[in-house]
């Protein structure tokens, strides 16, 4: 299991960075997974060990997401915006002016780009990303399937990335 962990580590971090909306939290989570895997010792795994790793990481994440307050995500946001950090320690309390202006410009450009997209694509993206609804909630709000939501959000993200990245 330890060897498999070593092989799958970066894939797991990437997958959970998407879920947790944060690379550092995903790193932290997969570090915790290491401890769990270590605690398992030399066990024989039935079936695919890689799937077991994923399940364990997924359970760890669910535990965390639910006990975490929304505000911590916000704090993280402010701190990354400030971007002036040394390891885990913030060293500046004021954000740089460029960071705010850049972000504002990107945000405005995003809104104008969204206006050029098909209405359902823009709506799904707005509900999910801007209003913070989950895929399932977005699907319910629009009366479409979850996989349609995924398609719309993907389409919007592709278009925005082409324009803004």
């Amino acid at each position: 299991m330890m060897r498999l962990y070593g092989e799958k580590r970066t894939s797991l971090v990437r997958a959970f960075a998407a879920r947790m909306r944060s690379l550092s939290e995903a790193e932290d989570l997969i570090q915790d997974l290491f401890l769990k895997v270590q605690a398992l010792g030399d066990i024989e795994v039935e079936g695919d060990g890689s799937a077991l790793l994923f399940r364990m990481a997924n359970n760890l994440m669910l535990d965390r997401l639910r006990s975490q307050t929304r505000s911590s995500a916000r704090d993280e946001g402010w701190r990354s915006l400030q971007g002036v950090s040394l390891g885990d320690e913030q060293v500046a309390d004021t954000p740089s002016a460029e960071a705010i202006v850049d972000g504002r410009q990107r945000y405005d450009l995003m809104l104008t780009t969204l206006d050029t997209l098909p209405p359902r694509v823009a709506r799904a993206f707005t509900l999910h990303k801007l209003d913070g609804l989950s895929h399932a909630e977005t699907a319910a709000a629009m009366g479409i399937s979850r996989s349609s939501v995924e398609k719309h959000v993907s389409a919007a993200l592709k278009a925005l990335m082409a324009k803004l990245a």
């Binding site: 997958a15 998407a18 669910l62 990354s80 002036v84 309390d93 705010i100 895929h135 995924e150």
Partner: protein
Amino acid sequence: MTGSPKDIETSGLAAADIDAAVEWLVRLQGQAVSEQDWLAFDAWLTASPVHAQAYDAALAFDQRLELDVRTHGENQEAPADHLGATIVPFRRPTRRVWLWSTGGALAAAAVAGAIAWSSGSLLGTHETTYVTGVGERRTIALEDGSRVELNAASRMTVRFERGARRVKLDDAQAFFDVAKDARRPFLIQAGDTGVRVVGTQFDVRHRDGQVAVAVQRGVVEVRPKQASGKTPFRLTAGQGIAHVEGQADDAQVSTVAVEDVTGWRQGRLVYRDRPLSEIAGDLNRLFPRPVKLADEQAANMRLSGVLIVDGQDAMVDRLSNLLPVRTTTTDDAIVIRAR
């Protein structure tokens, strides 16, 4: 060093790879990510270094976008000339703390690992089993918003169905803080006893063929020996019930000191006239080195008192001061006998 995020490098990447990366990213952001999704993602990611690059670019782009939304999305009504630093509240640097990891680690916690696994079913329900090892305590946040604190050496299976939230407690003790959901009652099966709640806080202990429920807040319905079909007991805050599995009419509602029953959550074991055999059982769920009772006389001794959970030797030492017993400690067991 400026605060603006690094530019996201996409120039060397094919549009098809970026598209695939974005689709993966969005799929992984959904709640219903399955093992198959993960295995397929892992296969795609490792198939080519270009895939990893494209994915990282999509991830970085998405995170910057979310940050922009968080920072500017809620300030749309703010006048345009307030664009500067005035919209940014002053915040002291904070360190991230995971709530569940702060719940008082036990001395022996490091030696044990909690394992949880899920299995899906075609009906859209799924079942997750949580297990804590000796000396390990764990807080579990369930998908409905309920929280369960699982005591050491416990096993619990949780199943969410359309019309009910079901929990099975095998050999276990747990404290429940159940989120209100009138349409999906929270049903606990502990041996032959059923517990039904809508939203409340309470403790259920199912050990050695006995079931005990103590209610901290709200109302809980308990049905000892469920199959007998008798009307359930309704417990309110400060009430408890105890039942020996298999017996028909032994259960009675009584007033209990709930903070004593739930003392384990704070690392305190509170006993009121309990046999040493029960205390030894509790100790054996906290530490890997077994505590053994050498004779019947010791097993039947009764104790009233509080044991702080720290080291095993210290706890046994305090026990031997509270009761007329002698203890012999070896590397692989602690033996308690009547003095």
